[in-house]
Amino acid sequence: MAQAAIELVGINKSFGAVRANRDINLEIARGTIHGIVGENGAGKSTLMSILYGFYQADSGEIRVGGKPASIKTSNDAIALGIGMVHQHFMLVDNFTVLENIILGAETNALLKSSIAKARSELDRLEREYGLEVDPDAIIEELPVGLQQRVEILKALYRGAEILILDEPTGVLTPAEADHLFRILRQLKEQGKTVVLITHKLREIMAITDTVSVMRQGTMVATRETSKTTVEELAELMVGRRVLLRVEKGEAAAGAVKLAVKNLTVKDSRGVTMVDDISFDLRAGEIVGIAGVAGNGQSELLEAISGIRRAVSGSVMLDGKPIDLTGAADPGELRDRGLAHVPEDRHHVGLVLAFEENENSILGYHDDPRYLKGPFLNIDAIMADATDKIEKYDIRPGNPRLKTANFSGGNQQKIVLAREIEQDPGVLIVGQPTRGVDVGAIEFIHKRLIAMRDQGKAVLVVSVELDEIRSLSDRILVMFAGRIVGERGPDATEGELGLLMAGIEQEAAA
């Protein structure tokens, strides 16, 4: 094995009660492409931020090129030859490429000589690595792929020998991603060390030499890429099954409640995230949408629930069209019997500063049940909240408590209680159990199945494969904005994993 470019020894980092990194040991060989995989929240980005001086580890040692290094600021990291390409680009959008590149690396107090130097240096980098980009272009006028190239150039301009890329392909088109990989291979040939953080296993298999897997803040394994498989990595990433499989009977699917046809959705950057998707959701069934985070599930959810405007496509709710590309808003959908439990309960589902009882009617606050003339009917609201607290076992059972003071699982129950108790015909749930403890998971799953048994249509989007498998009557797998396969509830984890990784394989249905 070649000499180590970076060694991390016993790194620990906590944010409050959350242990983001626990006792991490990692060795990255010089001149290799090293992948770090793990689910969202596994601690990959935290680890790399420690390496780049954005955070400081609570304990542990970093060695760069064999020597112990103290990295307190990004400056220290840059001086040690560590460069980072952030997931969200650290570029000034209305600056030129040149201005962005010299920012923080100017030669002296006046810009003239810095710009001249950067211009000639860019020329050299362009020749050496094929990183061509117009130095005078304004960043916001460049496509995302080129913006990322500017980020790489920024790092190289500062003399980076070790380049960390955090989820670099999330915003790229496949062609741009392929180009990026060519660049990374070229960098490797020139002796640079590349650290690639991703949750996309296909990329890991395609480009890395070594791969380390993180799960829940710990480093669970390091493998040579050529000696491992997608299946093994997926299992390592997800870990043992902690989830109890909830008992449920056969689905009695009825009439189509929600019919989605050719739906296309773009994100705020203008990247197509949902690409021409069609599916039906019937009464009395749970349809699960599986997929690695960032493959368009969030945007799909947001579009169907009226939060994000769709670009094109048609959606029928109970046989009547809803105009998701235009006028439809969540209120209208709610009135028509479509309830939504958003993925992000903290920012979309709840107002954390509100009391529990206020959140338990949020969005339904103009329902006559909760009103007395033009005023809120506090008594009715409190009675309603108390009722929900009892039914859903929300703890602590105090409707006057600030919502922020409830645990994640109980906050999720508040949202679920609010939406389910409105008795909607269609329930759309994003990440039903993200950040929820095991006991509450079981409760939530039972509730969702009870909804189904009452003849409601339930759509569940989750990145937890186990959850999808135990809840769903039908499983749709999303990859790169498309539905790449439909499977029954008995599909194996490996089979779904392959679909999720975008590896097309015609398994017997």
Binding site: I78, L110, L111, K112
Partner: protein, 356 residues
């Protein structure tokens, strides 16, 4: 000749009236370009005006007055920085607080120190900045001699030597028949602070677009995270921007109490800080535009004073209030998107917090 005279006079007062706006506007430009909204320009000008006039009258020196105006104004800017940069407070609230503190404290201290109802004593010659008129220049040329009698004399003589050639030129220009009087009225006859204000326009442009400090300043107002990851301290950078703001509002205040007026009068800024903010938006946060915006707003002010009571041709009588409201009306029209788009610095008003 009467009309020409009137026009020249209006233009002359346009310059005088736009100087405090221009200084405050450029002050706001430094701060807002760095991502710190500063609604406290008004208050900083006011404390600058008070400190300047008070110090000038106590120490009998215009320059000590100016220095004190800058010092106190910078101190207030640092309070704004402490609240909104270090403690990530709401920038608008902090700015408003500064305006209130300024309005109250200047009156209280003025009354306590000078017992003239919140005024400072009328400034004597030498305590205020004198106008450099054509007479002053010809006088200077007539009486100039090189003396080495004492160190002070020597310094004055050397300064005179440097000023001698420009003085000769201006003197000659002012003597050209026809053109001379207009030149003397418009270009000459102002105090040194006026020339400073207008010199700050190209200087600010140069700082912003040609220096490392300017590049970083603009960057931190657009995307502080980019600046942070580039290894530059966002905090220190924003503090430096606020120091620039404090210096300029200090000069603006000094101009009000030591040039335009012979002493401090309570609430003498009279909303100029807000008009300067409007001008800053109108100028789309660009220094040269800022100068034109301030000249325009100054002109409206000058015209409204000049036209008080007298009817305009075609339109008839225009209420002075209408002219005074025009800067705000124009700014609203601009903000509504009728005169191109005014895009503020993107990180403006948002305290910088490192995120995951």
């Amino acid at each position: 000749m009467d009309t020409l005279n009137a026009i020249v006079q209006v233009l002359d007062s346009t310059i005088r009236l736009s100087v405090p706006l221009l200084l405050a506007c450029l002050a706001g430009l430094y701060s807002e370009r760095s991502g710190i909204f500063d609604i406290g320009l008004e208050g900083k000008m006011l404390v600058g005006a008070f400190a300047g006039a008070a110090a000038a009258s106590v120490f009998h020196s215009a320059f000590i007055g100016l220095g004190m105006a800058i010092l106190i104004s910078v101190a207030f800017a640092m309070v704004h920085g402490f609240a909104s940069i270090t403690h990530r407070g709401n920038q608008i609230v902090s700015g408003v607080a500064i305006n209130f503190i300024a309005a109250g404290s200047t009156i209280i201290l003025g009354q306590a120190w000078f017992q003239q109802g919140g005024r400072t004593p009328a400034l004597q010659p030498g305590e205020r900045f004198e106008s450099i008129t054509a007479d002053v220049i010809s006088n200077f040329l007539a009486t100039y001699s090189f003396s080495t009698a004492s160190v002070a004399d020597l310094l004055v003589s050397i300064r005179g030597l440097i000023l001698y050639l420009p003085a000769l030129l201006f003197d000659a220009l002012a003597r050209i028949p026809g053109f001379g009087p207009i030149f003397a009225e418009l270009v000459l006859g102002h105090s040194v602070l006026v020339y400073f204000a207008f010199a700050m326009v190209p200087f600010t442009w140069w700082v912003l677009f040609r220096t490392r400090f300017g590049l970083r300043l603009r960057a931190v107002g657009e995307n502080p995270a980019a600046v942070d990851t580039a290894g530059i301290s966002v905090t220190w950078l924003r503090y430096r921007a606020l120091i620039c703001t404090g210096i300029l509002t200090g000069v603006a205040g000094a101009y009000l109490s030591m040039v335009q007026n012979g002493g401090f009068v309570k609430d003498m800024t009279a909303g100029k800080g807000y008009i300067a903010l409007a001008a800053l938006i109108f100028a789309k946060w660009k220094p040269v535009n800022a100068m034109f915006a301030c000249l325009l707003f100054g002109f409206l002010d000058a015209a409204s004073i000049r036209l008080q009571g007298s009817p305009l041709p075609v339109i008839g009588k225009v209420p002075a209030q209408f002219m005074q409201a025009l800067p705000y009306v124009l700014t609203v029209i601009l903000l509504a998107g009728f005169i191109g788009k005014a895009i503020p610095p993107r990180a403006g008003g948002v305290p910088y917090v490192k995120e995951r």
